[in-house]
Amino acid sequence: MSRLSDHNVILAKEIIARYPKQKSALIPLVHLSQEQNGYVTEDAMRHIADMIDVTPAEVYGTASFYEMFRFEPTGKYLINVCGTLSCSLMGADSLMHHAEQTLGIKAGATTDDGLITLQHAECQAACTEAPTLQVNYRHRYRVTHESFDQLVDDLRSGALDTEIPPHGTLGRNRQQIPADRAVAVQAPEDVTTGPAWIQVSPA
């Protein structure tokens, strides 16, 4: 039952239509399925394969390369604690230790209630604000043991529900290309001449 929903099939078709070749929609569609199901399921990969006319193995082959795709049930909140140099210099190890103690799980595991998955992560492009972590890819800066505890309390109480959507949802909005403004996308082999504004120029 984890094929894409009817609603998401409509979205998926819109996304596919944006690319000159439909396989380019593979990663965005796997994201869409992860947004729907919280992780990437086999049914979803089969469905995506059908939609972009590749084999399910090709979908898995690509998806398994990328860290954000998870192939098993994952907490509603994925906490990624950065452990790369700048964060490590500012106490990332101690933060990770504290996180493991507070949550009662080792990095890589999910709490019993299925709410939080804790992970070690690499540089999050926030190195000046070390140590950092992300909850569902939303940054938290200069994290102390106290602010970590507060974060966990807020996640448990639902205080952050509007700011942080469940794991899998990348953005709370989407790109929308209005039909009356869109340029018709063509496969590269169907394009034989230069674009209009180049042809009229002296070059």
């Binding site: 944006r18 070749k21 396989k23 380019s24 990663i27 965005p28 994201h31 972009i52 590749v54 082959g61 690509t62 990328y66 860290e67 954000m68 795709f69 790369t84 140099l85 700048s86 490590s88 210099l89 500012m90 690499e122 540089c123 492009a125 926030a126 190195c127 000046t128 604000e129 070390a130 140590p131 890819y137 939303r138 940054h139 800066y141 200069r142 994290v143 990348l170 953005g171 709370r172 909005n173 790109q175 929308q176 290309i177 209005p178 009356d180 403004r181 869109a182 340029v183 996308v185 063509q186 590269p188 394009v191 001449t193 230069g194 674009p195 209009a196 504004w197 180049i198 120029s201 002296p202």
Partner: protein, 474 residues
């Protein structure tokens, strides 16, 4: 100094960014909390560069960018105008791919540009596409940047609705779609040919070279211009103010400004837009306008001058100008504009381990020296740091390094050890720089601080054979 007591940016919506008494080319809107909105953008000169460009022929706009000598900000520093000229004549379509995959350790600038001024990036992408005849653009954003996605998606939607993107832009025959593409987490995808593979729906592995430039053979085999977010964000200024206004800032070989991040053990870690050629490393680490010195009154021990891939510098390299050639001669590079500072309390082997772990983890597995060598370097350094290493491991690190980077490896001079600097770059056996990057930090750490490693490992003379016992095991 505790984490809480550190200085904070005057602009909470641009965490870590500090303005200064310096020209602002790409960060001029960071002062506005709503700098990411179309309204603010239009009220502060937004899309005027595009209007100016559309009033001229594409080749004239290309000429302006060539004359500006705008250098790529993604790490390699290649002149953008020259790169656009590599597209083969008469081969269509041509594509634009915006590299927003920022993930080099220590690097923090592209994300701020996407979050705080997404329209500037869009306008720059449009100007590049107009000049180089690119008929579709893909804005590839690192997947782990949720806010940047939201801001860029909103900006694209608003720009479409207002007629800045899409069919017949501003009533001209310039038409282009720009598609927001979500990455999914893989450092190596920042390498431009891997970025293209990923955009084609494949595993993000770098392509064999030649062809060296995607400008010749890129997305779907077609000519493709790949530029970094910061590079493109400079174009609205250049198109609006002209190339002379741009080259008036900075140096003749490296004009304009550049965003750099200084992180680690400094009083005011931050992101700064600096004028190219105007600072030394000492200014950046100790200057009042920049990172303001080492925290807690400690001494500087070492610093990484240009992102996690860069060989390390020592305090006696502080007066080197923050310029590519000078950093290269001294044994390193400026790379992606990321300085990471370690004070006297730093455990050097443990610090190096975080970087070796990063690159070993991020190897795509296509080249043996990187896949195997990186993994072995990680395993060896990990056991040394855990106290289980031997002095033979230290030799093995250099041996593994030789398989990735044969010959002399660049490093800084060290008065203490009587070492001379070996200039950058190195030779490599791999397709891309991930392999060498796993070796560079541990090579620097081990060459410049051998005593810290020796103190951790068991020496050969102390090793004892396991005694044979007479008893028969039960």
């Amino acid at each position: 100094m505790t984490v809480e007591s550190r200085v904070v940016s005057p602009y909470p919506w641009a965490p870590g960014f500090y303005p200064g008494d310096r020209p602002e080319i790409v960060t001029s809107r960071f002062q506005y909390e709503d700098g990411h909105t179309l309204d603010r953008y239009l009220a502060t000169g937004g899309y005027e560069g595009l209007r100016a460009a559309l009033a001229e022929s594409p080749s004239d706009v290309h000429e302006v960018v060539k004359n500006s000598t705008l250098l790529g900000r993604g790490g390699a520093g290649f002149p953008a105008g020259v790169k656009w000229g590599f597209t083969p004549q008469g081969v269509w379509p041509r594509y634009l791919v915006v590299n927003g995959d920022e993930s080099e350790p220590g690097t923090y600038k592209d994300r701020l540009l996407m979050e705080c001024d997404p329209h500037q990036l869009i306008e720059g992408s449009l100007i590049a596409s107009y000049a180089a005849g690119l008929s579709q653009g893909f804005l590839y954003i690192r997947g782990e940047m949720a806010l940047a996605h939201e801001r860029v998606a909103q900006a694209l939607n608003d720009a479409y609705a207002a007629g800045y993107i899409g069919k017949n832009i501003l009533g001209t025959d310039f038409s282009i779609d720009i598609v927001l593409h979500w990455g999914a987490g893989a450092y190596v995808v920042g390498e431009e040919t891997a970025l293209i593979e990923s955009l084609e729906g494949e595993r993000g592995m770098p392509r064999l070279k030649p062809p060296f430039f995607p400008a010749a053979v890129g997305l779907y085999g077609m000519p493709t211009i790949v530029n970094n977010v910061e590079t493109l964000s400079n174009l609205p200024f250049i198109a609006r103010e002209g190339s002379e206004a741009y080259t008036a800032i900075g140096t003749p070989t490296s004009p304009g400004t550049r965003m750099i991040a200084v992180s680690g053990h400094v009083k005011r870690p931050g992101v700064y837009e600096i004028v190219n050629g105007s600072t030394t490393f000492r200014d950046l680490i100790f200057g009042d306008d920049f990172a303001q010195g080492i925290r807690d009154g400690n001494e500087l021990k070492a610093f990484v001058p240009g992102g996690g891939s860069a060989p390390w510098f020592l305090p006696d390299q502080l007066d080197i100008p923050f310029e590519g050639p000078a950093a290269g001669a001294a044994g390193s590079m400026l790379g992606s504009g990321a300085v990471m500072v370690m004070d006297s309390t730093t455990d050097i082997p443990a610090a190096a381990l975080t970087l070796v772990q990063f690159y070993a983890h991020e190897s795509c597995g296509k080249c043996v020296p990187c896949r195997e060598g990186g993994t072995w370097l990680y395993r060896i350094v990990e056991r040394i740091v855990a106290g289980h290493g031997t002095d033979a491991d230290l030799e093995t690190i250099f041996e593994v390094g030789q398989t990735i980077c044969p010959g002399e490896m660049p490093h800084a001079s060290s008065e203490r050890l009587g070492l001379d600097a070996v200039p950058f770059p190195y030779k490599m056996t791999t397709i891309c720089f991930v392999g060498p990057s796993a070796y560079a930090p541990i090579h620097s750490a081990l060459t410049l601080f051998p005593e810290e490693f020796e103190a951790l490992v068991t020496k050969r003379a102390d090793r004892r054979p396991i005694p044979v016992t007479a008893e028969v095991p039960a």
